[in-house]
Amino acid sequence: MSVTPISAETVLEVARLARLEVSAEEVPDLQVRLGAILKHADALADLDLDEVEPLISVGESMNCFRPDTPDKAFDPETALSLAPDQDGSFYRVPKVLGDGGGA
């Protein structure tokens, strides 16, 4: 499969997936900048990779777990104190459910 530079529609769709807003004026510049690295990555398609196992991490065989014993953790007050909006017990976020649903 050959790699093509990125379309305006794809830029906007990727932005939606990433929860980022991209204005119409920003799209052409992003097409150029993202397209440059994607085009550079075209060369990878020329390699014969059928028999190659992907390498996820050089540390893939070393998970060093500690004994499963209780350790000190944050108390709820500390954790909540870092939040931009909270009510003393919970994080406060914009309304998720609609009004008329009667959930």
């Binding site: 990433a18 991209v22 900048r33 550079h40 990555a41 990878l44 390699l47 390498l55 996820i56 500390t78």
Partner: protein
């Protein structure tokens, strides 16, 4: 204790209140700064982002705990490219850091504040983080020593994550010995980090004065080429000659997939970043964009992330999201991970078949460039990393050692990169110390800004 000079180069983001001086420990009283993506409980851990502009970590990184216990005097946090994404420290939400050798130029990045702080004498040692070259390249551009340890050698508990299969914490110092001593303190397993290897930590210092007679040093000839600044090639050749004169055996080696490292890296690292940075949603900590009461949760996420992240971070999240998205995953992310294996195999083969102890290459294709010079060209800045990202993909330790200067009216430092075998930092440091001692003119150059 020396009082650091005024920071005219914007290397320090926050200066900590002075602590009671320690009299005990390997680093007693040594002024150490930490990159702003390493959590301390002494101030803000911003990662040079608006997103974490007011973030006070409730815990400290394991490396910080170890430095404090060794008596270090923590002086503050250093400027960086936001979340580590950049090679010039121009992508900081708090303005660029300037190179102490020529303040019209960048210090490199992303640990540019750490390298500049050491070069200017503001800190004796500074911690940096290296995902694709972010310790080695700024060290080279600032004329100091920068060590990226083996992946898994140093705990990342308390490091703000960028690309988890690549991120490493390491020291930047004025000399190889300072880096070795700092590594000795911060290295070793950590119950709080399951990716930190349970491998004994060898003595990093006791081989520093051992001659390198008989050690085999590989040279990748294709990396000394016409695309580099001529001074980079000249410095590299001079360093190879010094290795030879010091008793090292120089062997030509090939890394056949090295040219693909930038492409593989700039798919893998953004992919991991897009996943890691999904946590910045304006709910649990960090910045939240102001919202009116009709805003939906989704709108809050989107406004928070759009306003909280800078342009380069947003671009890399988009690139990574694209590389991971349905329909493109195999063509980009999966392919890049396969190439990553080939790159690692190249190094394994070079070390094993040639019986090498270390490999020498340039750190970057040129010396420090001017502020703004590479911002417009999307590939130019990424190609800065072409000699460092492959090492990161392979997880090997590497060090940047000052080895020469350009012959400009304002001479700029140039380092060479030495690459070692996994978990063999002592041999790497031994070759680095030899190379450092063999550049006789080193002390005749001083940065424009600084007190050392």
């Amino acid at each position: 204790m020396t009082v650091p000079p005024t920071d005219t180069i914007n290397a320090i983001l926050e200066r900590f209140e002075s602590q009671a001086p320690a009299t005990d420990g390997l680093l007693a009283g040594v002024n150490i700064a930490v990159k702003a993506n390493i959590c301390t409980t002494l101030g803000i851990t911003s990662a040079a982002s608006r997103m974490l502009e007011n973030y006070r970590s409730p815990f400290e990184a394991t490396v910080v705990t170890r430095l404090r216990r060794a008596g270090a005097n923590l002086i503050g946090t250093t400027n960086m490219d936001e979340f580590g994404m950049g090679s010039s420290t121009e992508h900081s939400a708090f303005g660029p850091t300037r190179n102490p050798w020529d303040t019209d130029r960048v210090p490199g990045g992303s640990s540019g504040g750490s390298a500049a702080a050491v070069a200017a004498g503001i800190a004796t040692v500074a911690l940096g983080s290296d995902t694709g070259g972010s310790i080695r390249q700024p060290a080279s551009h600032c004329g100091v020593v920068g060590l990226k340890p083996t992946y898994g050698r140093v705990s990342r508990y308390g490091l703000v994550a960028f690309a988890s299969s690549l991120d490493c914490v390491g020291p930047i110092g004025r000399c190889v010995r300072d880096c070795a001593q700092a590594l000795q303190i911060i290295a070793g397993e950590d119950p709080h980090d399951a990716t930190c290897a349970r491998v004994p930590v060898p003595n990093m210092i006791n081989q520093l004065d051992t001659p390198i007679d008989g050690l085999r040093v590989g040279v990748v000839r294709t990396m000394i080429n016409d695309h580099n600044h001529p001074a980079v090639n000249a410095v590299c050749e001079a360093a190879i000659e010094r290795v030879r004169r010091s008793g090292g055996e120089v062997v030509d080696v090939e890394l056949p997939h090295a040219d693909h490292a930038v492409a593989a890296y700039y798919l893998i690292a953004p992919a991991e970043a897009s996943s890691n940075l999904a946590r910045y949603d304006g709910v649990r900590y960090g910045y939240r964009a102001p919202a009116d009461k009709n805003s939906t949760l989704d709108e809050m996420y989107t406004h928070t992330r759009t306003n909280g992240f800078g342009p380069e971070v947003r671009r890399r999240i988009l690139l990574g999201t694209h590389a991971l998205s349905s329909g493109y995953y195999d063509a980009y992310y999966q392919r890049a991970r396969k190439v990553r294996r080939l790159i690692k195999q190249d190094y394994d083969r070079a070390f094993n078949e040639h019986g090498l102890h270390t490999v020498v290459t340039p750190v970057s294709p040129g010396p420090a460039f001017r502020l703004g010079e590479k911002l417009a060209d999307p590939m130019a800045l990424y190609l800065e990393d072409q000699y460092t990202v492959g090492v990161s993909l392979a997880g090997l330790p590497a060090i940047s050692v000052p080895a020469g200067m350009t012959d400009d009216p304002k001479p700029l430092p140039i380092g060479v990169q030495l690459i070692g075998k996994a978990f063999d930092e002592p041999t790497l440091l031994r070759v680095a110390a030899t190379l450092e001692a063999a550049w006789s003119q080193r002390d005749s150059f001083k940065p424009q800004v600084g007190m050392c």
